[in-house]
């Protein structure tokens, strides 16, 4: 196993960095997209319900199937992987954010409205700052789940740690399987630990 690392450090590093790249791009796009949808949802209860239901439905589709469904439309590779991961994240991000915004103490909202704050002032100055905890919890979940599901994206040629793992499985190469497993599990565990610390600090 150490042997493999010494012989192909560049291969492992490339897979690892490819994975990080997918996760980071996914995360940035997901958060931007979710922020837009949240603002939309904040102005209408019906829209927020429809959005959450749609993304809940998408979230329930197994990732391998969703990858397969999108390949004819967007082709093989990283882009398709990122689209799928972003779609999955919307459910985690939207649900937590919308719940967080709706669970702000009603008397605080009543006082804010009664004083003459507009809807957007209430959203940005009152609701959002009071919902940081659930919003961050959603981001935390999304990061960890993206790291996991991104390994499966190797099946559509998106690269990442999954490619080592799949190679290993196909050629029955124990060293590759072990490195793939170690890297993906290790990454998820370490990132989760870091986010736990951050979450405690900001709330």
């Amino acid at each position: 196993m150490i042997d493999y690392l010494l012989r192909y450090p560049d291969k492992l590093l490339k897979a690892f960095m490819g994975h990080i790249e997918i996760v980071l791009i996914t995360l940035v796009v997901s958060i931007l997209f979710a922020a837009m949808l949240t603002i939309l949802a904040a102005y209408s209860k019906i829209v927020s319900k429809i959005l959450v239901n749609i993304f809940a439905m998408i979230y329930s589709i197994p990732s391998l199937a969703l990858f397969a469904m999108l390949v004819p439309l967007t082709g093989l590779g990283k882009d398709t992987a990122i689209i799928v991961l972003v779609l999955y994240n919307q459910y985690l991000l939207l649900r937590n954010t919308i719940d967080g915004l709706n669970n702000v103490e009603p008397s605080i909202i009543e006082a804010a409205t009664g004083m003459g704050m507009s809807k957007s002032q209430i959203l940005f100055q009152v609701k959002l700052p009071l919902a940081t905890k659930p919003i961050f919890a959603g981001i935390h979940l999304a990061v960890v789940s993206t790291i996991g599901i991104a390994t499966i994206a190797a099946s559509i040629n998106a690269g990442g740690i999954g490619s080592i793992l799949l190679d290993g499985l196909r050629t029955v190469n124990t060293a590759k399987i072990l490195w793939g497993t170690l890297m993906s599990a290790g990454l998820a565990i370490v990132v989760n630990g870091i986010l736990n610390v951050v979450e405690k600090k900001i709330t």
Binding site: E105, S107, A111, M115, M117, P129
Partner: protein
């Protein structure tokens, strides 16, 4: 004296409710009066109050604010001219006391020095030392202190009309009496119009120049405390006064 608020045959019925929360109410309030609105829960007193700052809109009839029909006004801007205090206070937990009090001045883009001076002035007005309380957060204050901040926040831009919805309902008896006295002082100095909802008859009679007694969405009597005691308009008002008298007798024994 000018007329601050006039209700013209106002009705409000909530969806799914069989009867009107406010049922054909007409009344006139002059500028500078302290009106208490008295009634038991569900009598429509809070609904009546919330129609003034357009948290609710009437079904029928119209409400005039200094001679202008409020239904033509933009509700958000209109509310900034009215102070609003609620029982649960509703302070913003993520903002300091100064930040809470400065909410409306900030929206109206007052210069910073003016806001700072106003915050200090208001804290003194409600009996709290500015240097000690300005930078604290609401959770570090007692219930009575929080409601003082709620009051200061509502008074921030010196509104012509103050709406108070059972502001002292959740405060212990001793603090409540202190707050009532201080509210009266603030009112007397300000010469503004105050509307104060309560279910406590002693509070209503102590604070109000006139008391508006409501039951089942209708006005039962609207008069000075003296006149109400001297000549109750109907059986409901009579029983209300008797209940308060019964309470006093019990205390004397």
């Amino acid at each position: 004296m000018s007329i601050a608020i006039e209700f013209k045959n106002v009705c409000k019925q909530f969806k799914g409710s069989a009867y009107s929360a406010v049922d054909h109410v007409s009344l006139t309030i002059e500028h500078g009066e302290f009106i208490t609105i008295l009634g038991s829960s569900g009598c429509g007193k809070t609904t009546l109050l919330k129609m003034i700052n357009r948290l609710y809109d009437p079904h029928e009839g119209s409400i005039e604010f200094f001679g202008e029909d409020i239904s033509n006004k933009d509700p958000v801007e209109f509310r900034r001219k009215i102070g609003y205090v609620i029982q649960q206070v509703g302070l913003f937990p993520h903002m300091t006391i100064a930040g809470n009090i400065a909410t409306v001045p900030k929206i109206l883009k007052w210069p910073k020095e003016k806001i700072d001076a106003r915050v200090d002035e208001l804290l003194k007005l409600v009996g709290l030392e500015p240097s000690e309380f300005k930078n604290r957060y609401p959770s570090q204050l007692s219930g009575g202190q929080q409601q003082r901040i709620g009051l200061a926040r509502a008074l921030a831009v010196n509104p012509d009309v103050m709406l108070l919805d059972e502001p002292f309902g959740a405060i212990d008896a001793i603090n409540r009496i202190n707050l009532q006295d201080e509210l009266l002082k603030i009112y007397t100095a300000s010469k503004k119009t105050y509307l104060f909802v309560t279910h406590d008859i002693n509070e209503a009679f102590k604070l109000g120049n006139r008391v508006l007694i409501m039951d089942k969405g209708k006005i039962q009597q609207f008069d000075t405390p003296k006149n109400i005691v001297a000549s109750p308009a109907n059986d409901f008002v009579k029983s209300l006064i008797n209940s308060a008298r019964g309470h006093e007798v019990f205390l004397e024994v």
